[in-house]
């Protein structure tokens, strides 16, 4: 880390080895204004958020830059669940639910985002790429013509969130039966079993047995009454 007392010159070395900064620069060169936001944890990990329109272009650019190993694609729903999280104490007062949509690392503007991970096997570095999914049309471009493995991941993302993928050859359900209604991983999809009988939380299963009151006078000879 740069010396905090050194105020008259720019720190020469970035906290890290410059590898991930170089990847960002390379991507900016290839797709220009498509890169919206980035986040680096030094020597550890890299996040890049791109414009929705540049989603497929990013895949092609990164594949050309050496990120040839595809890891996964999935979605994020940033709305806090209206049903609360199940671990709060049901006997206590219900807390005021937080309804503000706050996106995480690298920000965002929409409730839903898609994110993917690609790995460069030669430089041993991975990158997480995110993009907003606009409300209308609720879709992004498909990666299945860039990475063949994206096919299944996009099917799963579609059935769980409802996000469309333009250009996907066959967007049907992966896990759920064909007649399943609803998109399970959205936060407003309730888990019915929890609504019928909420989880009791940390309970004392068996309370201690009630101790009998100790008698003041000595016990009388207790024979059966005749």
């Amino acid at each position: 880390m740069s010396d905090a007392t050194d105020t008259d010159e720019q720190p020469l070395a970035l906290p890290g080895d410059g590898l991930r900064e170089g990847i960002i620069e390379d991507l900016r060169r290839r797709i220009g204004g498509g890169v919206v936001d980035t986040h680096i944890t030094p020597n550890d990990d890299l996040w890049i958020r791109v414009q929705t329109g540049a989603w497929r272009q990013t895949a092609e650019a990164l594949k050309a830059a050496g990120f040839t190993h595809f890891s996964f694609i999935s979605g994020l729903d940033w709305m806090p669940s209206p049903y609360g999280t199940g671990e709060s104490d049901p006997t206590a007062e219900p807390k005021e639910l937080d309804t503000e949509i706050r996106q995480g690392v690298t920000g965002g503007e929409t409730r839903f985002q898609v994110f993917a991970r690609l790995v460069d096997l030669d430089r041993h570095v991975g990158v997480t790429i995110k993009a907003d999914v606009p409300d209308e049309p609720f879709a992004v471009d498909s990666w299945s013509m860039v990475f063949a493995g994206a096919n299944w991941h996009e099917r799963e993302c579609h059935e769980m969130f409802g996000i469309g993928f333009n250009g996907h050859p066959d967007l049907r359900n992966m896990y759920l039966p064909t007649d399943f209604e609803g998109y399970p991983l959205r936060k407003d999809f309730p888990l019915l079993a929890r609504m019928i009988k909420p989880w009791p939380g940390i309970v004392d299963v068996e309370p201690m047995p009630v101790q009998p009151e100790p008698a003041g006078e000595p016990a009388t000879q207790d024979t059966e009454s005749t």
Partner: protein, 200 residues
Amino acid sequence: MGLVDRGRMPAPLTKLFNMSRSYSLWVYQWGLACCAIEMGAAFGSPRYDVMRLGVIPLPASPRQADFVCISGTVTDKMAPAVKRLWEQMPEPKYAISMGSCANCGGPYWDSYSVTKGVDQIIPIDVYVPGCPPRPEALLEGIVLLQQRIKNEDMAAKWRGDEFTTQQATRERERIAAAPAISAPAIPDREPIVVGGGPIE
């Protein structure tokens, strides 16, 4: 045999048949998830060998099986297959539900795609709890099933009654043959209680 369904099987023959049935069970392993591995360890490994109990593990098809051991999570997508399997098995058939997922949904009790207990689909004879149950627990479940078979009333099983043990049949016959409960007899004289004291 006409003797079985008419309930006219003599008792020593019933005992012999029940005992021989319970010691030659062919089990269909319907292993779905983690419990399938413990079931495999119980049935296939030399340590918790199940063949010494008289239970043979690998039938060629469900149509040749005596009982089915459903181990692992049953999802809603898989449930029709379980039902179809149960219908394929010939009577007399039994079912053991192994593991908490098959008993009641288990750790996935609140999931949107898990059937909360396979007894919603097929009737179960023995529940073996655990996550996963040790192979010894499954073997105890099988031994309990064997005891149930030994105590079974074959006519009741043939008819498809809910309770098929011989005790249940005896209880049912006792209730059917018992005289109706009559009103208490009115005593000839009223007991007179003057100043308390024991009643004559």
